[in-house]
């Protein structure tokens, strides 16, 4: 069992939480996510041009880069997190250029050294898998693919080929943190995806409230919350840990209460 597969083997859906590295007191914030009950941590790698992100995460990227965050800093944050939390899976999420600029091998090796369990790269579709897929697989790091409302039946096998860890269902055709999908469309999509794969399916984009999280937790294996947490960091600056822990706990409570059907 890997850390990721353990996280998806609990009697409730996994709570997957996202924050941007280098935005606020990242170490304290990560600890707060774990203390609040996060099952999987997604650590965002800031990028100057976050094309798939809405205003909340765009601004987090600008704050982080403005504070001078480097890729070396991000791996240091990840390694320190791994030392403090040996069992909580950590996934890096970000864009292709910072991940590939020193070569895929370098990136996979740094992930390995820092104890990173998986990677989500927004702008490397299966068609460009050669950039990172082979080196991550060789290093035993999960490559987590995204499926979206536009990923049709014909395309899904290509998305699943080489995917591991979990499948991230982007529930809206859009950017992070804005619209939310109708619950019926999520129900249908998750059922469809699960008929094609044994990978756990986690649902994200536009999931903000404990109520939404609970509804999704009834059908999916994981619930991803990002922008709502990043907004708490924006509001509370370097003292966001308390607010994060409380909010994550409220999400977790709702998810556990919902139980998977």
């Amino acid at each position: 069992m890997t850390r990721l597969s353990s996280a998806f083997s609990k009697p409730h859906a996994a709570l997957v939480t996202f924050i941007t590295a280098g935005d606020g007191d990242t170490a304290a914030n990560l600890d707060a996510l774990v203390a609040g009950g996060a099952d999987v941590i997604e650590l965002g790698m800031p990028f100057t041009d976050p094309m798939a992100d809405g205003p909340a995460i765009q601004e987090a990227n600008i704050r982080s880069l403005g504070a001078g965050t480097t890729t070396a800093d991000i791996f240091a944050i990840a390694a320190a997190f791994r030392a403090r939390h040996p069992d909580t899976p950590l996934v890096l999420m970000g864009y292709a250029n910072p991940m590939t600029i020193r070569g895929g091998e370098w990136f996979a090796s740094e992930c390995n050294k820092a104890g990173v369990d998986g990677v989500i790269c927004v702008d490397i579709p299966p068609e460009e898998d050669a950039e990172l897929g082979p080196v991550l697989r060789a290093a035993g790091i999960d490559l987590i693919r995204l499926a979206t409302p536009t990923t049709d039946k014909a395309r899904l096998p290509a998305v699943l080929d080489g995917a591991s860890g979990f499948l991230y269902y982007v529930s809206v055709a859009g950017i992070t943190g804005l619209q939310q999908a109708a619950q019926t469309s999520i129900d249908e999509a998750v059922a469809r995806l699960k008929s094609y794969t044994d990978l756990p399916v986690a649902v994200g984009f536009g999931v903000r409230t404990p109520e939404q999280a609970a509804n999704i937790a009834q059908v999916a294996d994981g619930v991803v919350v990002g922008s709502a947490l990043v907004e708490l960091v924006a509001r509370h600056g370097s003292n966001a840990a308390g607010a994060l822990q409380d909010y994550v706990a409220s999400l977790k409570h709702a998810i556990v209460a919902a139980r998977k059907a």
Binding site: A96, N97, P98
Partner: protein, 413 residues
């Protein structure tokens, strides 16, 4: 005489089936957009071989855009360069007059092609990004011509400094959306257009303004702009009975340059020079991705980018807003690597001098983008023999730039 057909060893049969030009190009987009770019590619393949599509494109270029644009021998500029050239030197300078197109630049060629494609695909809403506003104006123009709603993303900073073009777009019925994310310039406008596209996948067509972005954009923009090189080749052959010795074009994203170069790529005796914007100088702020950048991934393609060691994208600078972009079309990155095209750069002040030189010697006010090409033409022509021919693309007219130039020259208008 027509352009030679590409052979197996041709420089003209790129990209491969996955949109790669060597290691460059490709389709680096979010999964939400992947089915859309694949669909666009399917439709483009069909359109490319459909004589009706080609006929409609040709008809609009002739009667709406005003093609073919003239090929012009710049006699006085040639003489001016010869005055200071070494004995026997000073090539004949010719211009492809794409600044005479409707809307004043080469941008319209591509917009006509893409809007016909959008209509063919049943799309009902058009989006585009723009820097200086030239591509925005060209897109707004074709949207008005075909009655489609048009939304133009433009960096808030560019909206401020390009008010005449903002007003033109609004007159043409487009909605101009100022972009306040990032650095408020062209690359941020492109990010925002991509965000719009992701959120409006079913009805929206994204008209990208240069030969960059995810496959098949670099290919289709090149194909639509290749009318420039095809005409120039036929025109020069019919006027002089020979091919040029050197082609020169300015490069931001590189659509006018690839449009001129591509039909000549297999003519092995034709040298080619792409001119990047060196801004304040290559050791200072500039927009020369090939000279000062390295390969990376942005806006859907792998290409040379201005970036730091962590792959964070840098801000570009050029006096010409149309060259002010930290990337370049992937085919240029490939042509540089294989050595088929030479790339050089020209600073803001060199471009300003060339701008004024063309005004005075030929009575043509060029845009600041081709002013960069003209500066390079001066530099190259004086090294070439008098019986040689150097042909540059005059890809835009300078009406839009008179405020910028006046300011740079310390004049108030």
């Amino acid at each position: 005489m027509t352009t030679a057909e590409p052979t197996p060893n041709s420089f003209r049969n790129q990209p491969d089936e996955n949109g790669h030009f060597g290691q460059f190009g490709g389709r680096y987009v979010a999964e939400t957009l992947m089915p859309l770019v694949l669909d666009l590619e399917r439709h483009y393949r069909l359109a490319k071989t459909d004589p009706a599509f080609q006929a409609q494109f040709d008809d609009l270029l002739e009667h709406y855009v005003g093609r073919p644009s003239p090929l012009y021998y710049a006699e006085r500029l040639t003489e001016e360069v010869r005055k200071t050239a070494p004995e026997g030197k000073g090539a004949q300078i010719w211009f492809k007059r794409d600044e005479l197109n409707h809307t004043g630049a080469h941008k319209i060629n591509n917009c006509i092609g893409q809007i016909l494609l959008a209509i063919r695909m049943g799309k009902t809403r058009i989006i585009a990004e723009t820097g200086a506003g030239q591509h925005g104006v060209a897109t707004a123009t074709v949207c008005a011509r075909f009655g489609l709603p048009c939304f133009i993303y433009m960096g808030a900073k560019d909206v401020e400094r390009q008010q005449p073009n903002v007003f033109r777009m609004r007159l043409l019925g487009a909605e101009v959306i100022p972009v306040t994310s990032g650095a408020n310039t062209l690359k941020d406008a492109m990010n925002e257009a991509l965000r719009d596209w992701v959120a409006n996948v079913h009805d929206t067509f994204y008209i990208i303004g240069t030969a960059a972005g995810p496959h098949p954009y670099p290919e289709l923009v090149r194909d639509f702009q290749s009318v420039i090189g095809k005409e120039a080749r036929a025109q020069l052959l019919s006027r002089t009975g020979r091919l040029p010795d050197m082609l020169v074009a300015a490069i931001g994203g590189g659509s006018n340059a690839i449009g001129l170069f591509h039909p000549f790529l297999d003519d092995k005796d034709v040298a080619m020079l792409g001119v990047e914007a060196a801004g304040h100088g290559l050791d200072k702020e500039h927009a020369a991705s090939l000279a000062g950048g390295r390969p990376g991934i942005l806006h859907g393609n792998k290409t040379y980018l201005l970036q730091d060691e962590d792959g964070q994208i840098a801000e570009a600078h050029s006096i010409s807003a149309g060259l002010d972009y930290p990337g370049i079309g992937p085919e240029h990155s490939w042509l540089k690597e294989i050595g088929r095209v030479r790339y050089d750069s020209v600073t803001d002040s060199e471009a300003l001098n060339a701008f004024q030189l063309l005004c005075r010697t030929e009575g043509i006010i060029p845009a600041l983008e081709p002013a960069h090409a003209i500066a390079a033409v001066e530099r190259e022509a004086r090294k070439m023999d008098r019986d040689q021919i150097i042909l540059a693309n005059l890809c835009g007219r300078g009406d839009k730039d008179i405020f910028t130039v006046a300011e740079a020259l310390g004049t108030t208008i």
